[in-house]
Symmetry: C2
Subunit: 391 residues, 2 copies
């Protein structure tokens, strides 16, 4: 199982930057191996890698150690450690690393790790649940743009209304230089990616399976275009199948890398509610687009508004506000009319010319106040009295 | 100006209950006179009536006193008192009281005051801005039902979607024995009143003009039906015209008498946002019905959700919850699937029969955990392995 290090140079050259040091190569390769051993979100693996470093932790685990050895220095209790060793054992003999590396090499997929400058720092907010590395298809330099990003997600079973709004919101974000993050599914996700691309902006797709496996297959071309302009990313190794568990964990990754999450349409059991839940747990802003209460496709977003204190998002401007980006020319709401002006205007007539005392009696105001208001108003002043200006 | 008391018995008999004491009659008549002198929301009048009693305050003001006399005992400063005397003066000569009483008598409209048992106590939350009395067309005994009421209000320029939802919400409330309060306008208000009537429930209309003046005139029949089953109410005297100021003040009265306010549809400058603002200021729950973000008629409700922390209301059940009425059979959301079950189910195949170690490797779980989960799941157990049950 430790034999991954025998091929460290070859693997690191193929999947990492040329500038890797010898230690960097060992770390990268160990993280690749960890990525092949565990399922996403494995807290014990995360704690161990953080406490010991990926390579040392790997060597330790490869020796099938006593659970107490795993505990030392990591925030793991012996029972958790034993359970982890038990769940890692069935995969230790597998040839997954070799296969994943081959697939990555063939598809020009890079592996980036927390030691790379381009690693999205926001992922670290997942703590021990953070993935050991990310498998990136596309231009790794674009990952820097995730620092200003909004996830636009929603139901596969979207309505044309939902797709229309996803399009508007994603295009508006992309035009403002904010990256659009989504999950490449049919429906809302696809509409968001396509709109960002059409607007000439950046969009990132996070997959539940390997980033070499276009999923859904009907989005093969879309994923190609995303990879050509930004990146298609996964925490599971190349070749890995998308499973329900990995979808749920992929959702937490989308929530973590994005500065805010907007759910456009979601049924009551939609996976995008799971994404929103992760975003909220991570302290990210969550937005929900309302829709007709008669539409089942909006029932989930209404639940977010009702129960999760999501912000009501009706436009790209609202979505930008979630991450504190406010337009320069602010379209403030007009202040309400002055009460005395309202009352004088009520008292005036379009036709009849009224004296100031008559206006005072009609408006229930003093003569002096009526005179002051009339002086301030743009009205047709006549010698004998006042009447309302026709608009 | 004090001559109202000369006709006190006659007026009180016509507009109040027979059981009035002599003092009760004086108070009722003084409040009627105050109601004719002031515009709604007059804080100085309210403070004075509270401090001195309606009749004594009336006699004091009738004598055109020094502003300092008004100040004594009431929370009014001399400048405010002088301004109030100045604004009341233009109306003191008018014959409005006589006219209003005649109209009320002809239309069988009663005047109720804070001394009547049926006075809606919630109105007192308006403090000095509370009206001196209410002019009630219909069955005054029904006013008791306002203690369990929800205002359903919204734009005159409603869409068929908005009217449909107003209908659903109001009918559902009415069927639960909750009174529906609204403003009798075209659009949402009318739909809410009609639905409550059709459901055989109670609905109350608050008018900006006198309760003898059906407004809008196209709702004359509707107001007739409301008066026949509950009441049409106004704080301005019979004969008074609906003015913009009185609409705004009528909105505050709707907000005060209702336990919660639900805005169904509202443009960005709709008067129903004003009602919601008053409700929020009074500490009443406010609800807003979402709609398509592409609909201008929902822009105001979305603003309530975004900026005023309104509760997202999608049904009559949601509206009932605003006032703490929760259905008995609660439809709790199903708990999320157990993570280990999800992972085992992901690992299983519909076709291929798998061994436990194979399932463990695919799911990234220990053999023991896989066995435990499989034991708990309803699966087709085969001698040689496991596969997913077809649903």
């Amino acid at each position: 199982m430790t034999d991954v290090f025998e091929r460290a140079d070859e693997i690191a050259d193929a999947l990492g930057p040329r500038s890797d040091t010898a230690q960097g190569r060992r770390d990268r390769v160990a993280r690749i191996a960890w990525s092949c051993l565990i399922e996403p979100g494995d807290r014990v693996a995360g704690a161990l890698v953080r406490a010991r470093g990926a390579a040392e932790a790997w060597e330790l685990v490869a020796g099938d150690p006593d659970p107490r050895e795993l505990v030392a220095g990591a925030l793991v209790d012996p029972r958790e450690a034993r359970a982890a060793l038990d769940r890692w054992r069935p995969r230790r003999g597998g040839g997954t690393v070799h296969d994943a590396v081959e697939r990555a090499r063939r598809n020009r997929i890079a592996v980036i790790t927390p030691n790379d400058d381009l690693w999205p720092a926001a992922v670290d907010d997942l703590g021990d649940h953070a993935p050991p590395c990310l498998w990136v298809r596309g231009d790794v330099r674009r990952l820097a743009e995730l620092t200003r990003s909004v996830a636009v997600v929603g139901a596969r079973a979207a309505t044309s209304y939902g797709e229309h709004v996803a399009d508007e919101v994603a295009a508006g974000l992309a035009r403002s230089g904010i990256a659009v993050v989504s999950g490449a599914a049919y429906g809302i996700d696809g509409a968001a990616h396509r709109a960002a691309l059409a607007a000439g902006g950046r969009t990132f797709a996070f997959l539940a399976g390997g980033s070499d496996r276009p999923y859904p297959s009907g989005h093969t071309d879309l994923l190609e275009r995303i990879a050509a302009t930004a990146a298609v990313i996964s925490e599971v190794p190349c070749g890995a199948a998308p499973t329900k568990w990995r979808f749920l964990q992929r959702n937490r990754l989308i929530a973590a890398v994005s500065s805010a999450t907007v759910v456009v349409e979601a049924g009551l059991r939609s996976g995008s509610l799971n994404t929103a839940g992760h975003a909220a747990a991570l302290g990210r802003a969550i937005g929900a687009v309302p829709g007709p209460v008669t539409s089942a496709a909006s029932a989930g977003t209404h639940r977010l508004l009702r129960e999760f204190d999501a912000v009501c998002v009706t436009s790209a401007a609202d979505a930008r506000e979630l991450i504190g980006v406010v337009p320069l020319g602010d379209d403030a709401v007009r202040p309400p009319d002055d009460p005395e002006h309202t009352r004088v205007r009520d008292a005036l007539s379009d036709r009849t010319v009224l004296t100031v005392p008559a206006i005072a009696a009609r408006s229930g105001m003093s003569v002096a106040d009526v005179e002051a208001v009339l002086g301030a108003m743009l009205l047709d002043g006549r010698g004998e009295g006042w009447r309302r200006r026709r608009s």
